[in-house]
Subunit: 159 residues, 3 copies
């Protein structure tokens, strides 16, 4: 049994895999932060989606008026959904890329640029920055994922 554990540990001891683990964890934590920011805006703007969330404001019409959308809340939610749409491909393709034997330097470059681009995208969305700020940060992360996908298909293609 300790032999098996050693084998698993070898995976996490590999430098490319450790880099993948680090940057994936960081970017997933960043995505999780969007939930807290949504909650912050829901509470400060008093804009909720569920009747049971407004019960503390009283009953009937008094509470019902807080069942509404708010521009700031919706903005964070759009940013969160954009994270899902882009970080899910990174999660899957990045894992396969890390297992496809890339050079450490190249892999680090991919992971760092992707995570940097997604953090920039969040700032561009939430501040908000004028376009093409958000568009460019989105495109950079997208291009990095395509580049990793190309390497995976080149290495592993089995149709």
């Amino acid at each position: 049994r300790s032999g098996e554990m050693a084998k698993l540990t070898q995976l996490i001891d590999n430098e490319v895999f450790r880099a993948y683990a680090t940057y994936t964890t960081i970017v997933l934590l960043k995505m999780m932060l969007m939930s807290l920011i949504t909650a912050y805006f829901r509470i400060t703007r008093k804009a909720f989606a569920n009747a049971e969330d407004t019960a503390s404001f009283g009953k009937g019409e008094n509470a019902k008026k807080y069942l509404r959308t708010d521009p700031d809340v919706e903005r964070v939610r759009r940013g969160h959904l954009n994270d899902l749409e882009n970080i899910v491909p990174f999660l899957g393709i990045g894992l396969l890329y890390a297992l496809s034997g890339p050079e450490l330097y190249t892999a680090l470059l991919h992971f760092r640029i992707f995570v940097g681009a997604r953090i920039a995208h969040t700032f561009a969305y939430l501040i908000p920055l004028p376009q093409p700020g958000r568009g460019l940060s989105w495109a950079v992360g997208y291009a990095v994922t395509i580049s990793m996908a190309y390497k995976v298909l080149k290495t592993a293609l089995y149709l």
Copy 2:
């Protein structure tokens, strides 16, 4: 070739990895159940999002009136999206955590509490339970994921 297979099988034979595989599969199946519940409410409440879905109700205005939102459908959809936002981080961080060599007991504790919290969250959303029921179940799953992320970064950090 059978040597390779043996190596792969060793991964799935590892107890921590088997626990990860079991609880991840369960929580993903739970998330997939949300699609069926959405379909159930769309059909029983006659509330659809696409014109082609209402064609069986006739043509023109008669079918068009079923292109509408329904509170019960929207509630399930919010629960489904919340699943995506929270189970995707668990999928990625949990995998890396399982490979970071945790104690079996600790790993089982993390996986069981996370999956229990997400099942509780679904009930809290769909019944619905008064707050803070849903909020607490969400927070427990969130905290478990943060705890696993901490272990991953402590073990694997490579920036």
Copy 3:
């Protein structure tokens, strides 16, 4: 260190794992394509979600009228969300399935049918095809994922 690399490469050299890597990358790229289609419809239909995206159309009311929803944009977005809801389970359960030691022939069958069904689902959503076209393609992908989940739980169950 090269010993470790060899071990990682063995994972990607396994035929079942290579098939998983290939089909997962393809279906994730397909999902990413939805972002480009959304952008295409947003630009051609002039329907945007963020004020900063309409700044190039002028200021004030002139730009504000492009902050609106459009049926074609919303249709692509529903297709994209449906992808997330179905491809995330495939990503996780498919990986565990690939590690659970299935026959190559059986694994290829699962991966090919799933990816084919999701491509068919996208066409059914975007053309759109009359029902039950979209419903059936969704159900096929769903059933394949359940079948893989069954194999994972049968092989790895550890509660």
